[in-house]
Point group: C2
Chain length 353, copies 2
């Protein structure tokens, strides 16, 4: 691409319909750099060098995570726009940092682009990612772009901060702690199922508002960034994780790592109304379908008896996001769903292979 000794072409000179295959890495990076909002003072070297350099918050610990969205595994281009994919790729990482009680500060974007990708697609993907970044005050400081002989891959690394002793792991729960979940569950999987079923009219969207919300939650999950940070800062939670692979999976993992069991009260589950309607219309059990459904990115957390008063301040500051008690951690190592007084095993979560 770059001719000998030439400077990188300016990003804005590219036609949007141009293919990345005809554009070159350096022009794409320059185009991305030009679209970023101004970086905060903590970023000393941003995009365009071998690595980015930032000044971590004084006295804070680093929280780091990475999560990839792979075409054909985590998204389908017929269901999600490039902007949706960019949005979600950052959202799922912000969710992981929030579930540690941390605040995401920096992100790195690693893009693997199939040959047919257009520059407009890269722009849209970045638009979506930057929308999520703006809403959570995250700065994109670098990344990597390469071609892909296979699927589109969007791999994001998030780097955040958390104060010492405010880290929320999965292992901190104790028998007797109450279990809570933010928001509503089952929405994302119901939305995805609706999209898979709409084959007769591939451009249609749900006319039902609650189902439309389910589709939106599949495409653009809202990480509970604020609540995660509050749970850490107030030390209201003893353990926390996100329900990315399903609520049942999250509770099972938290119990296993905390050395406890858990019970979930079927009647207490905050099942999304659109999801409930969807599962019932298909003759399926809304409780088990919602518990097993992945991609909700709600936070699941445990609260000790002593910390319940601190939880009240989190609920007050949650800006309308419901926080619902759904069960408790138990000394007995079993993990079960309790319905009409009867225990049943939990469904399993999203399978990555």
């Amino acid at each position: 691409m770059s001719s000998p000794g030439s400077e990188p072409p300016a990003g804005t000179s590219l036609g949007e319909a141009a293919l990345v295959a005809d554009t070159g890495e350096r022009a794409l990076i320059e185009r991305i750099r030009q679209r970023l909002p101004p970086a905060p003072a903590e970023v000393l070297v941003g995009i365009g060098d071998d690595a980015a350099v930032a000044e971590p918050e004084r006295g804070a610990l680093q929280v780091v995570t990475t999560d990839a969205l792979v075409e054909g595994v985590h998204f389908d281009r017929r269901f999600s726009s490039a902007a949706d994919i960019g949005y979600k790729a950052l959202a799922v990482n912000v969710s992981d940092v929030a579930s540690m009680g941390g605040v995401t500060r920096l992100a790195l974007l690693s893009l693997m682009l199939p040959a047919g990708t257009s520059v407009a697609d890269v722009d849209s993907l970045l638009d979506g990612l930057l929308l999520m970044a703006a809403s959570t005050r995250v700065t994109l400081v670098g990344g990597n772009i390469t071609r892909s002989p296979g699927p589109l891959v969007v791999d994001v690394t998030a780097i955040g901060s958390v104060r010492r002793r405010r880290v929320l792991t999965r292992a901190g729960g104790r028998a007797g702690d109450w279990l809570y979940v933010t928001g509503a569950v089952g929405a994302a999987v119901a939305g995805l199922e609706w999209l898979r079923d709409r084959a007769t009219d591939p451009a249609s969207e749900p006319s039902d508002g609650t189902l439309a919300d389910c589709v939106a939650r599949h495409r653009r999950p809202e990480p509970r960034a604020r609540i995660g940070a509050l749970l850490g800062r107030t030390r209201a939670a003893s353990a926390c994780m996100d329900a990315s692979d399903g609520l049942a999976d999250a509770v099972s993992q938290m119990a296993a790592q905390s050395g406890t069991g858990a019970t979930i009260d079927a009647a207490a589950l905050p099942i999304h109304p659109g999801a409930r309607r969807w599962f019932e219309s298909r003759g399926r059990d809304p409780v088990r379908s919602s518990l097993g459904g992945s991609d909700d990115y709600e936070l699941v957390f445990a609260v000790s008896k002593k910390a319940r008063s601190r939880l009240r301040s989190v609920v007050r500051d949650a800006r309308g996001v419901p926080i619902t008690r759904i069960g408790e951690l138990t000394a007995d190592r079993e993990v079960s769903l309790v319905r009409h007084g009867e225990a049943e095993p939990l469904p399993s979560g999203f399978v990555h292979f």
Copy 2:
């Protein structure tokens, strides 16, 4: 996969010949966790939670970078073992941090595995990565594993530290600064070309020791981690970058970002002896072939007149790695190769699309 309420299966219970497709993400993560050396005290939460938590070095800035190796783009399974790929995936990131004057401390590993991948392949890949990690004192603190419907992808994020005012960007060079390169150039591309040519006997290795070294440098590049950190610490360099996309590309980028031109002296280039022999045997110009050849991961850096004495202490501490003066930055914005007193344009570097 995980049955309802069960704990993750122990990693060691998997047969090596097992396919990851039959193994499950959690068992693979547990297997990786069990193979890691003990983490240093700065790692508070390692693999197995939503994110890792570490304590950055007091008073240090963060250096962060990500780089992916994609099957069919950056490596060929016929030429590189899984261990080679793991080794290189970390090495290229360590090189990026070193070229900022930083020291890599933490790494995140994002794996995208095709359906036919065996558990033994994942083990080998990790062996290679951990070998590189041990030699540079890097701790693997987390990552992500998912399946790939296309190529094997190994995406690594490196997080390092550097002191303020010791950051080496590409933009710090000034006209009159001398240009240096570590080690030898042309080896990796010569090694790759040899591998592509050996079609008659796909399992053969070079009998010539210098050519065998070229093949080794393609498979397992040695990042100049120590020299990069020394160049930052001593402030010997005014600008620095790695030659991952070729020496010509590195010099062009450094000159463009520093607002200078550059000349490279053809006679001074430390061309790897195996590469020189390889290019000459094919009737090609060793100078241009080495300048244009990617994947060497040598450091290219500029040194001001004032800093030359500081460079001497770096050379003394370089543990036998040659550091060669190859040219200088110029006020004239042209970038050229000077051979027998005549200037010619530089070849272009590795094209990512």
